[in-house]
Every structure is written in C-alpha cells, then in structure tokens.
Symmetry: D3
C-alpha cells in the first residue's frame, strides 16, 4: 500500500489494521503531526449501518489528510514497480479528487507502472461532493480524461462514464440502465441489460480509450438496506460477461462492496483465471464483505472460491 | 412534556434522555423519593426484542409511579395552554388507566385545552392488564366514554372501539378486520378494508362523538417478529385515507411503532400538511422507529420526508 | 447430566451454566487438572454465526476432554437409573466417537438403563472428523451397530443410516432425500418425502433393529445462513408423521437446532403427548433455539407450546 | 432460599442467577404477575459503583415486591427445618421491615427453627427509609425487640443496637465507636476498640437477650470509595475476637460486603471451625466480594481459605 | 452555548450530548457540510485514558472546525447579553487560538459583555501546538494581551502568565512553582506556595491589568496517571485563598479537570457564595469529574456540595 | 517468529494478532487441523485479571499444541540465522518443556544460532505443572543443563537456578532472596540484595557455565494484585546492575511483565545501549505492559524511552 498517514495515535491505529491484513506498510509515508489537524490530518469516515428501509449513512471527513497532500515526487515509483516488482497498480477517482495535487500523483504512478509493464486499474468512483472544492464536474472530467488513457482496466458505472468522464452518447440511457450501482427501486428483478446498446457504448468508449482492455461494474438493486439484488458485469475483447446473480442478498453492512468486487476481480486476473471466473470472484467477494461488519474483507480466498462454486451456506464444522 | 417523576437516580436518568430529545422538561413534577419505592416510584418497562418466530416480550412494572399519582390540581394547565400556548395536547388510555386519579387528570387537561383552543388527541390503546386493578373493562369503558367527547383526534383500532369504548355494532366484524393492529396471521397480504362497512362504523362513532374530527389507526400484519406488513388508515370529513403500504417491513425492534405513528401524524397536521400527507408521515415515522433500537424515534424529519417521497434505502454519503 | 469435567476455571464456568439451566450436577465427575491440558482438558467448541450467504463455522477442540476419558466403571448407573429413577437416557454418536473408551461407556449405560426399564434414545450424529482418529467409518459402523440394538428411539438422517450404520439399501436414495438435515440448495420447497420409499427403508431398518420403536429426524433446507426451511419427521408403529413445516425460518444462530429438536421430542413423549404432538414440540423447540444466541435453549415450555398452537410472533405484554 | 417472586421475565431472570449459584429454588413461591406491577412486583436495586472520592450510590425500588407480601402461613417451615433438615436459618431487619406482614413471617420462621433446633442468625441492618412507611423507628424497635429473643447469632453495629433495638446505655459512645460499619473519616487507622466498654455493652445486651450466643459486626473505614480499611469483630462466651485487619483494601464494587461477611462467618461455624477462624472466614469473604462486580460472591471456598492463610495476591497458574 | 457546528451526523451527535446536559442550543450556528471536511468540519479530540505510570494521551483533530471559522459578525451578542441577559461569559485561549479570526470573535464578545455588565472570565490555557500554525508564541502573546484587559476573571497558571501573556518577572520562579498545573514529580507533597512571592507577581499582573478582579488556577501533582495530588488557589482583593488539598486523589479519567474547576468556581460565584467557598466548589467539581469517564461533568450540584462539606465516600442508599 | 500453529479459525485469529504486531509470519508452520483437536491443537491460555487482594488466575490449556509437536528437522535454521541473518534468538523453559521433542528443537536451534554467531538468550521460566507429564523436576534439570551451555544470556530467578537448573549452593538463601520474582509479602520495601552473596552465586554459576555473559531477572513484591513493587537486576562481566525501582506500581493486568522485561532488555542490547540502560529499558517495558490489558505490549519504543528518562505520567496532548 502506497499512501501517507499523519504520525499520531489515529494513524498508528490505522497502521495496526493494515498490518493485521498482511499488507506491506513499508511504502506508507509518515508525516509529522502538527498537534491540531490544521496542517495535516488522517482522514476519517463515519458510517451508520442501514437496516430495512433505513439506508446506511456515510459521513466523510477527509479534508487535509496526509494522503491528499502527497506530491508526485514523494514516492519512488521505480522502486515500487521496478526493484520490488509490484504486479498490479490500483487507483481511482476518490484518490484523484482528494486535492489539487493527487491527480498528478496518480498520473505519475500510472506512467511509471506503464514503463515497468505493471497492469493498471482505475475505479472512476465519481463522488460529486469530493470534487466540489477543487473545480467540480469540470475538474473531474478533466482529471479522469487525463488518467483514463493510462489505465488497462476501468471500473465504473454508467453515471461514472457520463458524469465523471464526460461521455454523452445518444440513446445510451436504456442501454446502460443495467449498469447503475446502488440503484434504488421497487421492481422485482435486476434490470435487464441490453447487450447491443451496451456494446455500442463500449465501442464508443473503446474508440476514445483503446488502451482499456477490460471494463467492469457491479449491479445492485436496493430492495431495502438489508436486502439487495447483486451481481456484476464486465466487457473485454468485444465480449460481455455477466456474473451469477445474487437475488435478495442479505446485507449486514454494505460498505466495502465495490472495493471488494474490485479486489476479487483483480485477484482472479492475477491468479490467471479466465475472465468469467475472475468476474465471479469479484462478485462473490463483494457479496461476502457485505455479510461482515466494516468495509474491509474478512473472507478468505477459500470462502470466496466456495461461493463461486455455489456451495450453500450450510454450517462448516 | 407534562408528567411526574420520582426524584432518584432512575428519574434523573430519564431526565437525561428527555433532554437529549430536545423536549422541554419544565413541566415535569419531581416527587421526593421515599428510598424504597413504596410511596412513589418511577415506572419501568422491560422489553426483549423478538426475532423471527420468537415474538417480542414486554414486562411493564409501573405500579405506584409518580405519574400514576398525579392529581388534577397538580398542574397549571392554563399556564401550559394559555401563557405558553401549547398547540397540541396528546394523551391516551394508558395514562388514563394508570390509577384511580389519572382519568381525572386527563379530563381536567382536556377541558383546559378545549378552553384554549388547543387541538386534543387521544390514543385509546386498550391494555386489559392495566385496567384490571381499578375495575377492569367496565371502568375502561366508563373512563374512555367520559374522555372521548373531549377529543378532536382519536387513535384506536377496532378492538379499542369495541373493548375500550363499548361499541357493539352488528356486522362490524368483517368491516373492521383491516383495522386490527399487531394482527398475527399467515395470509399473504394486508387484510382488505371494506370501505363501506368501515364507513358504517364511522357513522355510528360519529353519531355518538360528533366532536371527533379525525380517527386513525395503524395496520400491522405480523408475518414474523422480524417481518411485518405495515400501513395506516384514517377517516376524516366522511372520507377514508389509506397510507402507502409497507409489505415485508424489516423490523429491528418493534416497540414504539404506534407512538411514532401518532407523533408523525400530529407533526404533519401541525405543519399544515393535508390529511393524506400527514397520514404518510405517521406511517413512515412508525416504520422508521422500528428499524432502530429502543422505543423513541431516532429519525430526523428529513429522513421521514425522504421515506414519504419513496426514496430507496440506498446509502447516503 | 452424567459427564466428566476437568476441575479448572473453565470447567467451573461450565458448571455455572449447567446450574443456570436447572440441571442436576451431582453426577458430574470432577477430574483433577494437570495444569497444562496434556493429561485431561475441557472440550471447547468455537463457533462463528453465519449471516446470509456466509455460512456458520464451527471449530471443535475437544481432544483429551475429561468426558472422552470416562471409563465404563466410572459411573454407578444402577444408582442413576435405579435408586434415583431417571426416566429417560439420551446419548449419541458424538459421545461414542470421542475416544476408544466412550463406546464402552455408552454400551454399559444403555444396558443398565434397559435393566431398569429406562427409555433410551440415541442420536447417530455422524461426524467423520471425530471418528478419523480412532478407526474412521469402519469403527463408526462397528460402534453404532453395537449400540443400535440397545436403543428405543433413534435420531438420525439418511446419511447417518448409510454412513454411520452401514445400511446399503438399493433404491434408497430417492426415498430418503427428504431426510437430509442441513441440506443446501436452491429449490423452492422442502423436498418431497416419498412415504412408500421411506416405509421400505424403515422396514429394512426395523428388520435389523426390531427394538427401535421410533425413528426421527429434522428436515432443513439452507436457503441462506439467515433463512432456512425447517421441519421434522418421525416413523413409529409403521406410520410416518410429519411436523408443521416452517418455510423461510429466520435464523439468528443455527447451533443447537438438532439437540433442541431431540429434547423437545423427548419432553413431549415424557409428558405423555401423542407422537404427532411430541414431534411438533421437537420441531418448535428446535426452531426457537435458532432465534437466540448460543446453542442451549432459552425458550420456556410455554413458549414452545404457543408455537405449536401456531400463535403468531406478536408482541406479548 | 425461602422467598417469593413475581412470575414475570424479571423474576425468571432472578431464578437463573439463583440457580447459577447452586441454591435450591424449590422454596421460592411464584406469585402470578398482574401485568403492571400494581398488585405485586419484583424488587429491584439499582447501584452505581463508586470511585475514589465519588461514593457508590444505591437506589432501592422494592415496594410491593412479592417477598414483602409473604404471609406467615405461606410457607411450611416444618417441612424446611424438619423433613428437609435445614441446619441454619438467616434473616434480618431488611426483610422484617419490608411490610406490615414480613415481621410476622420472620417470627413464625424463627419459632419453627427453634422448635427444630436449627441455628438462627439475624442481621439488624437498620435502614431508616425502609421503616418510614410502616411506623418508622418506633416500629423498627418494636419488631426487632420481638425478634431478638428468637435469635442465636446477632449481626449488627452500634447504630443498629441503639437505633434499631433501642439500647440507650450511658457512656456507650466511646466503647462502640469501633463498631461503626461503613464509617467515613480521615483518620489514619481503624478506630481503636475499647474492650472494657464493649464488654459493658455486651453485658447489657446479654442481660436483655441471654439467648444471643454470638454477636458480630464488620469494621469499615472509608478512606475513599476505592480504598477502605476493613475488618470484623465478634463477641461470644464473654470474650471478644477481632479478625485480621485489612488496611487500604482495594475496592472494585463495595456492595455485598456485609452479606458476604455474614455468609463467610456462618460457613465457618457450620463447618465446625473455632470462632476465631470462622470470624476470619467472614472478614476474608467480605473482602473478596468487594473485588468483583456485583453483590453476590464469586469467590470459592478455597480462595477464602487461602486469604485466611494470608497467601499473597500472586498470580496462580 | 455560543458556537458553530458543521451540520452532519457528527455535529448532530454532539447536539444530542449538549441537549442531554440541559444546555441551551439556540445559539449554535449550523454550518452546511461540504460532504468531505475540506471547507468545514467538526473538531474531534481522541483521548486514551492513562493508568499508573502510563500517562493519558490526547490527540486533537480540530483543524477547519466550524467554530474556528466563526467571524465577529456571525453572532448577535447584544441579543445574548442584552435581551436574553446572560449573566456570565466564559472564553479562553483555546478558542482564541483556533484560527486567525477567533481572537476577533472573542474580543467582540467580551466588549459586548462588558457593555451589558456581564461578568467575563478567560482561561489562558496555553497550548503551543495550537498557536504554531498562526504565528506561534508571538501571536499568542499579542492575542492574550489584547483580550486580558477585557476580562474580570483570569484562569491561568505560571506557565500561562509567562508563555502566553509574556510576563517576565525576575525572581518569579520560586514564587509560582506552586501554580504549575499538571506537574509531574516525585516529591511527597503539593509544592509549598510562597505567598509573598505570589503576591509580588499578582502586584505586577494587577499593575498591567487592573481590570482582573480574580485570578485562579488548579494545583496538580502527578504521582501517577491514577493518583494525583489536587487543589486550587485564587487571588482576589489583594488576598490569597487556597482550597482544601486532595492528596492522592484517585483518577479514573483526568480529562475535564481544569474546565470543571472553572465551571465549579463560576457556579459558586454566580450563586453568591464567598470566594473561599466558590474556590472549594471549583476544586471539588474538578476532582469529581476525574472520577467519571469522559470530560464533561456527571456530578450533581448536591454531590459537589457534599464533597465541599467533606462528606466521605460512603455508599449512599 | 518461528513456531507452528494448527490451521483452523483459532490459529488464523492468532495470525491476525501476530501480523498486527508487525511480526514476520513466514516461519510459522501451518499444520492441518484434524477437526477435533486430538492430533493437533492450538494452545490456549485463559486468564482472569486480579484486583486488590484477589490474585490473577491463569489456566493453561496447551496440550498437543502444534508448537509442542515440532521436531528438530521441521525448521531450516540455517535459512533463519544464515540467509536471513536473524540477529538474536530467544527461547526458554516453557517451550523446552512442552513435550518430549521440543527440547531437541531448542537444542538444534541454539546450536545453529551459535554456528552463525547469533546471540542466544534463554529464559528458565520454571513451571512445575508443565514438566510433570514428561518426567518432572528431574527432566527439567536434565533439559536445562543441556541447553544452558548453549546460551549467551540467561533469564531466571533464584527458584529457577535451584529448581530448574539444579544448583544447590550452601548459604545461597540469603543472597538470592532479592531475586525472587512475584514474591508475595507485606514488607515495606523491595528486599535488599546482598551483592556479595549474589556475586558468590554468580561465581558458581559462571564456573559451570562460563558461556553465560549476562544473567538477569525481575524483582517483584506483590503488595496486592493492583500494586506491586517492581524492578530488575542483571549481572555481567563480574558486575551487578540494578534498575530504577518502581515502588507501588499500579497494575491493570499483570500478565506479560516477564516477557516484556526480556524483550525490552534485548531491544536495548540490540540497539547497542550500555548494560545499565538496556536493563532500564527492560524494567520500564515490563512496567508499561502491566498497565494495559493483555500480555502483549502496547507500548511504543518512544514511550519506554520516556519512562526510562523518568518523565512523569502527565497527559500528553
């Protein structure tokens, strides 16, 4: 993990949690704390779990975080991708929108990864409130259009493609309805995906960014905070793959679903699974993380694999 | 809030919780505690949440509570409704049945409210065990018949109207089946309401109590302790209104549903919403309170409004 | 309860919990602890509750438990069944498979119970990992075949009858599909039971073990860790009884379902209920225990009876 | 344990805790609950632990408890003391002051115990607030004077002897200063006991109640809620015994110190220890209970014995 | 309470806690939240309780808090001090050092209070890290020298007077050693105060700020995080008052000691107590708050009064 | 960390905690679990914190742990000490006494460390119950005498030297009284150490094991479970060093004091501190770990250093 943390008791608590996950902390940049959180802080995210028709609430408090104040020359990416040989680089719109400088950090990292042949994924993850302070939608489009040509894998839904990347394709609406993440509604099933329309959008995206080898997104229909329909879809090599669908998925704590989809998919691809299987790993991992408290995964690779094999939720003993 | 509490650590804890809700505590009468709970106590209510086919359990322990020992001349209602201008007075059968004196307190308050033009609501809320010690069903009928002519708004279901108010209307059964609150059953849907029969009952009630401008009740079908069908209905101006229905509502802790329906409805009417909208506020508020622990509402007005607008349970961040 | 515990703080905590249940502890054999758990221990069972598509996990850690080291002459069964007049003796395959000596303990106890006219039930409960260390499936078959002729009531599903008792009946598969406990699947309903096939299997079992007066098992279809279809079936006097079925039973903590079925059934038979009613008590008790945390029952007899009478999960207050 | 409880969920929770302690519950009288706590309740006692200079707080809420409504003929004492052969009967001023009838219950029990040769102890335990509702100090004196002649062992401090039993002995003050329980102060040591003066008081008490074979009390100097000086003293056969003194005893939760002193002393006497040893058991048990949460003892007999032997608080492993 | 909060779930939780304390929230300015904490936030303060020789840790995270962004014209102080008649205004160096604008807010408020005859107190509370970002010690001196002439009551220790107010009096060291708050050390007693030297310092301070009618500070000697010597001192009318000393005060959670001293002192003065008594209320309130978790007081006025009367920490029941 | 764990959910939880501490897990040998804990288990240690005169309790349950079943050829020590260059190897009597094979594992490791010039420390840590099952004191002496010649640094108190290593030196008693760890008592101070006598014992030990360059032990006087006198002493180069003494150290949870002493001392020596300073680091680290829950250290190096510098327990903020 390459990031920065303010060196105070909160940051050291985060370090504990990162270590617990078995993640390498040697590339965390520890920034001296100013004692009050004016020069630098650690970002916080308060969440309240939803239940039934009461939706979850998130309150992001990440202004002036150490990560947001990273500068392009703070990290020796050649060390990361070259000497240490990192095989995959994952980044996204939340990091890029943290401050005026983080887009440059992302661009520098992606260019370095490309030099070393490291695979690059980017999650558009468009959050309007994040971008408001640094130029809004216009800035988001500008940043994402600058970074998109540097990625191999793009994660993002229709809203991301239009709002965060600026695509405005006539007749796209119906085609990509099925790609909305976290879509509220009362209809009985996951929206039908029109492969032809989706293919047309992919053609347009592909024309602009021929570098994108794979585009993926989750599908979520929010029946209630406790029950969602869930699934995922990806497009690669001109072909559309759809994961097993999880109707009426029981949710304990929804946070982390999207990130765990991404990590499951990347795991599958790194392990050399075929695309269809990797997509199933992503969807299954995202589903499992929503059955445990918190936004980081508590599922083992074996548990994800069992779910991909459609093993039931029988007791294991 | 106009009530009495025994001045001991339990009462002071209750005061904390009342303050936390932003409720004015200046009309709480603090009664000196006798050190053992023989002369006066604070009422307690133990509850165990239900789960699935295990229903919730309530154990009321409110004998000799300070509230039950209020006397009609303990409170200066002209101050409350006149000088301070309280706009709405809400009371009900649980308070009136607490002791031999509380019905007089309620009657005195309602008469004073009427003098000052304050709107009055009364929730019949018939609980047989409560009345047993002071005369049973006969006493309940007598008290409720004395108080009903003083109210503007009546909350109560069919059981309340027959058992607590003494109505015995031929052929009423089928008409009001849909009005049962907390009705167990295995049928697939909320019971159908026969508007004609219900109208006949309302005609009878109206003939006896022409003062009642609005009558309302919740509809609840208990599929399991964790899943209820939920809704509400009200009658006013000769017309019947039915709220949005909430099939398969997921329940965390059912206590407080009825009271939160009442407060949501009253809020809507006080805000000047039309009856249909006020009814939706009541049903939505009652639904939300059952998704949080405890019997007092943790929902904001904005959250209730969002549910009335049928916004989904998507994460808000 | 007749068992052995190591006399250390863990064992004394278990004693507390046994006492809390109102169980007689006078036949617990307290074995001196060696201070390290090499000579003797108390068995532990770690469990993680499941949620939705994440199944529950159990981790049994019961090697060298005091119970596993019981010897046939450690207990004065004539005292238990004779002088003290215990009316029912329940035992099973988990105890019998604990070590090389426990099968002898079980056999000795069952023989003594038989001498005193005490009713004997045996739960096959086949767990392969348990038997692996002492001879595997071969040993399990040998032990169960030795104990089966000593029982009056047998609890076990189809897997138990084939794997743990060695029955290999042609064409049995379809007949007993409905008897699988904890069966994962996605079908919409509890599997249909073919009474004719099941009757044929019972005929075969009966021919081998004419002593078995009643055979029973639970039926469980695992839709998710949080929702199971549930029911039970028993065969006696050449006739098949099926309990009320509990579709979509909401599960808080699944552990203890099978044991609570057994205890509910035994309670019903001890109370002199007819077989159909006793079976309903078993199914209802098993269902209730899964709505509370932990594997021991928190349900009262009155609560079980109410569920048997199909009372709804309305609040009781 | 001979008492009465209201048969509601609170009473059944109390039953669980009594069972957990290994206490026989067969003489608990279960009184039907009225659903509201007006006719009968279960007594409650709220406590807040003290810390440092913030003293503990107790809030007793036991009006109309089932125990307070016991009548002399509710219990078959001949069964308890005769057929079942209870060896010791313990009772006290808190029970006797619960209501108008409990003194009669105590008198009846003590008379029966006397008939059967059962040893009787009585803890004066004078709490003014308790007696206020039924006649105050006058009633307390009357009741205690009626019961004192029936006891063999009396527990009580100087305040109890004067206020609750009505002794007014000239010059007693200085003699019994050392007998005050729970005495606040800032002096450096446990108050000195003047054996001559104390002997004179005992002579007076003995002249009035020659039946009292042993009188005992705890000594407590409250340096802070977290540190007390602690000890105990008893008089028997014309001789005064003083326990080991526990200066600067560290307190986690002070409730239960007096009752655990009584039970430790009674245990010692029942075991046939000499008076000096039994007194040490009482003082040590009282000390240990104040190191654990709650007012019931979590100490084993072996732990009490080790403390009596002055073993240190080294880790045992 | 006059302040500003960001209108997000964290701010609304703070509102709950303020309401619970019975504090008027009508002068809280609710600032719209930007969704990420870049434009405005709610200040946070993480604390870890100390124990024994492990000191407590505080981590302040209050950059860009809504309070720090208040501007002088945000509040209608004439309404607060005039129409509503607030009797006392308390403020201090932590607020004044929050940002470039808060000193102006404080000055404006103090001037307005002065116009309306409201008593004004100011707690110097010098925290170097707070001032670092806006000019350091130089800025602190400048701000405090600007505000000191506007106050009636000054709270501050020797370090505050020298570092935060710029006094450099020859020979002052020995005189004010006794005024150090939170002073670590191993000496056996609270440092001796040299009244003559202290008087000389007060003469100097008084010459510069003749407006200061009363100066007060706490005295704390940190023996361990769990045991402090504690007391307080104040100077007024040319006379020095010293509170009762609390040697070896047992500490549960030290945060809030200084603020509770201030509020106890102000309470005493507002109640019209003489200075010596008001000082005792301050010291006692500060002592009590350190026996409960958190930094806000849980002590009632009656509990503070009892401690002032030197009542012991006996149980109250 | 070089050890073995059974690969079940308990072992994986332990892995989480090891990772959280930043410890390299690559040399943990994961042993397949047998499902019941008969062939292999994970060791457990139950602890109950002491309070005041109630001592802490430990209940070790480590029979058949994966670590106890390690064999000498299970680990490639040349890889650990050679290729990976571990600088220090720490081991002790608890590991060596786990089973018949672990002494061989220890001997193999120590010999390998010696070959690669790695410093070796050994903590005698004699626990009689551990050795009972494999030959008792005789076996302990034999094992420790075999391993002592392989160590550079020895941790152990007088009891360890006599009981676990078999030294029986005339007149040693008085000399080593000061070396008792965890010594209960009521004396006012840490026992005086007679340097001459201690020197004589060291001379004897040195004559037998000239390889031991440093011998160290903690000093603990148990005033109560909550207050200990604490310190440490070491002998090296013919000279005796004694750490700062910590009288009346406040204890939250005593477990881990000895191990944290060892790790603090080793840290100091590895950092190149002189012996006196390294000893202070050991004593301070041991003291700090007893102020936090659990047996693993939560103290940072900076916190230990501050304590060594005798900084007080003032709040840090």
């Amino acid at each position: 993990m390459v990031t920065a943390l303010a060196d105070n008791p909160v940051g050291r608590l985060v370090e504990d949690l990162i270590l617990q996950g078995g993640v390498d902390t040697s590339h965390i940049r520890w920034v001296p704390y100013d004692g009050v959180g004016r020069a630098v802080r650690n970002g916080l995210n308060f969440t309240e779990r939803g239940f039934g028709l009461r939706g979850a609430i998130g309150c992001s408090d990440r202004g002036y975080s150490a990560a947001s104040q990273l500068h392009p020359d703070d990290i020796d990416w050649d060390q990361v991708f070259g000497a240490e040989g990192a095989r995959w680089f994952h980044c996204g719109g939340i990091f890029a929108g943290l401050s005026e400088t983080t887009a440059d950090v992302a661009a520098t990292a992606m260019a370095a990864a490309r030099r070393h042949g490291t695979v690059i994924s980017y999650d558009l993850n468009y959050r309007p409130s994040l971008w408001n302070a640094i130029g809004g939608k216009t800035r988001a489009e500008e940043v994402n259009r600058r970074l998109a040509p540097l990625a191999d894998v793009m994660l993002g839904n229709e809203e991301d493609f239009t709002a965060a990347l600026g695509f405005e394709v006539a007749g796209l609406g119906s085609a990509v309805a099925g790609l909305d993440t976290d879509m509220g509604g009362t209809s009985a099933d996951l929206p039908e995906l029109d492969p032809a329309s989706f293919g047309r959008m992919m053609t347009v995206v592909n024309r602009t960014y021929p570098n994108l080898k794979l585009i993926a997104t989750t599908l979520r229909l929010v029946r209630s905070a406790t029950r969602n329909d869930w699934g995922a879809v990806c497009w690669t090599g001109g072909q559309l793959y759809q994961s097993r669908s999880y109707p009426d998925l029981e949710i304990m704590d929804r946070v982390g679903g999207g990130d765990s989809f991404a990590s499951g998919l990347i795991y599958g691809l790194l392990m050399g699974f075929n695309v269809a299987d990797a997509l199933e790993y992503g969807a299954a991992h995202g589903a499992l993380v929503m059955t445990t408290p918190g936004d980081t995964s508590m599922a083992t690779a074996a548990e994800v694999a069992a779910l991909v094999r459609r093993e039931s939720a029988r007791v294991r003993r």
